[in-house]
Symmetry: C2
Subunit: 324 residues, 2 copies
Amino acid sequence: MENKVNIGLDVAGGDFAPGCNLEGAAMALSGFGDRLHLTLFGNEEVIREGLKSHNIPESSVTVVHAPEIIEMGDSPLKAFLSKPNSSIAVGFKYLKEGLIDGFASAGSTGAMFGGAVISLGGVVDNIRPCMMTYVPKPSGRDGIILDIGASADSKPENLYQFAVLGSTFAQLISNIDNPRVGLLNIGEEPEKGNELTKAAYKLMDGSTDFNFVGNVEGHDFFRDKADVYVCNGFTGNVIVKYSESWYQLCRKFGMNNEFLERFNFENQGGSPVLGVNGSVVIGHGISNGKAIKNMIRLTMNVVENKLSQRIKEALSRNDSSTHE
Amino acid sequence: MENKVNIGLDVAGGDFAPGCNLEGAAMALSGFGDRLHLTLFGNEEVIREGLKSHNIPESSVTVVHAPEIIEMGDSPLKAFLSKPNSSIAVGFKYLKEGLIDGFASAGSTGAMFGGAVISLGGVVDNIRPCMMTYVPKPSGRDGIILDIGASADSKPENLYQFAVLGSTFAQLISNIDNPRVGLLNIGEEPEKGNELTKAAYKLMDGSTDFNFVGNVEGHDFFRDKADVYVCNGFTGNVIVKYSESWYQLCRKFGMNNEFLERFNFENQGGSPVLGVNGSVVIGHGISNGKAIKNMIRLTMNVVENKLSQRIKEALSRNDSSTHE
């Protein structure tokens, strides 16, 4: 197992578990098994059966019996706390104790996010961990948008931190040099916006923690105006769900091209929880095998690039965490 | 002029004024001139020239000399107040004095919106006038979304009023019986959302002023879940500008169908200012002749259906205006 990244996979998470999860595990191991060891969390008997049917060699995986399941109807955080033998709770226990290098699950999102924050804690005081997704641009490069709903309400200093988190992600994971950070707003000029963005602009303007390029608007996602789009979680969540609708509708209307395909969540793998002490990725609830494979790949990427640690350093370097 | 609706048109408003404005005026008069008289505001000499070149009969129009121009670089409200002989300022003077039945302009949006609020006032106390646009749905019917940016910040009682405004518009102008009102949110359940939507949900739930169907999300715009999507102006503005990007991108990628065409602003005509004492429509700044024609048609529709008065009645009937 030396030189291999040990990724924990929740075999019970997502709408098509455990079948698609094990299918994705098999795809990941056959694709990049030379760098990957998987630790599988879930019902041991079910997993052992699945290993056989998916031709996964026992030597590539560690199986951890975690039979409790967090159901979609459960209150996510309550379920996380009240089901210590759930795959998610046990997975975070392993991550915290260093028995795995990263942890990935296709949900529930609420239990995963809450679990990450509770188990691992924020990288600095006053941090508001968040989630992101990709903003495909016709020019070729993908931008990212954050927060996409981890917080329903944000303060100006949260937006400032999102900028640091997003900028670090864009550099390390998207390999974008000196990523341009735009503040999502309803006008280009610095004085435009609501109370939140007007105050956030003042904090962000002139920052040396990231490359701030000013306000961007709803019609700037497809323009090459920024690499990181910073916004409050409410608006980000609406935008991301609306994007998915457009993607599905365009597919339904027969559109099929490389640009559109970059909206396909199956290719994206999910979102890391940004700002916690550990490598955690949350996939889409409707993940199929391919999506699970890419979620595992993203988690490896996050681990190998030490994203969490680099974010901690970036936030500690400056006084952004004390802006409250 | 009896039995005709007298619509004021700002000949100087928009990026392609005065040419496209007069082209649109000609199209409107040739299309539905039996019901329409136009009062044209702008530089009289320019307008008289244009009437000839566009074959507009002098008898179909009244020309009002208003030579000052509100430039795109001007601070909109300041320009409205400091240029009393601008086409917009004179247009509102005519509207307030009952010399025209409705007033339409392709901008500036800020001067038109501010001018409407200052000149005409709100239909009730504590009203926050707003703007809307259409939400085309694949099922056939168009929904509407409001506010789309007239206010940058909203209170729960503003969202309640937007629901009344939108519901009245959907009934009178879109001919939707008992329109379903959804609250744009980041979760389906009543307890989900940010501070604003959680409080607005409580106000809206059980209201007899409109048909509240609960929370709707970003992926519900294309589903037939609601006819009126109520949201804060910040998120609405981002959504609407993002929609335009998708429309343009889909066109660029060769998509061409009836559904997509409903996103074309040229067919929509613009947005009425909802909640002021008068019929005012603001068109898109890049309006061409067809868009101007449809802006005039929408203004006639708003006048003929007494939208402003019906909104006043709807808001006076209930105690929503005292929710502050």
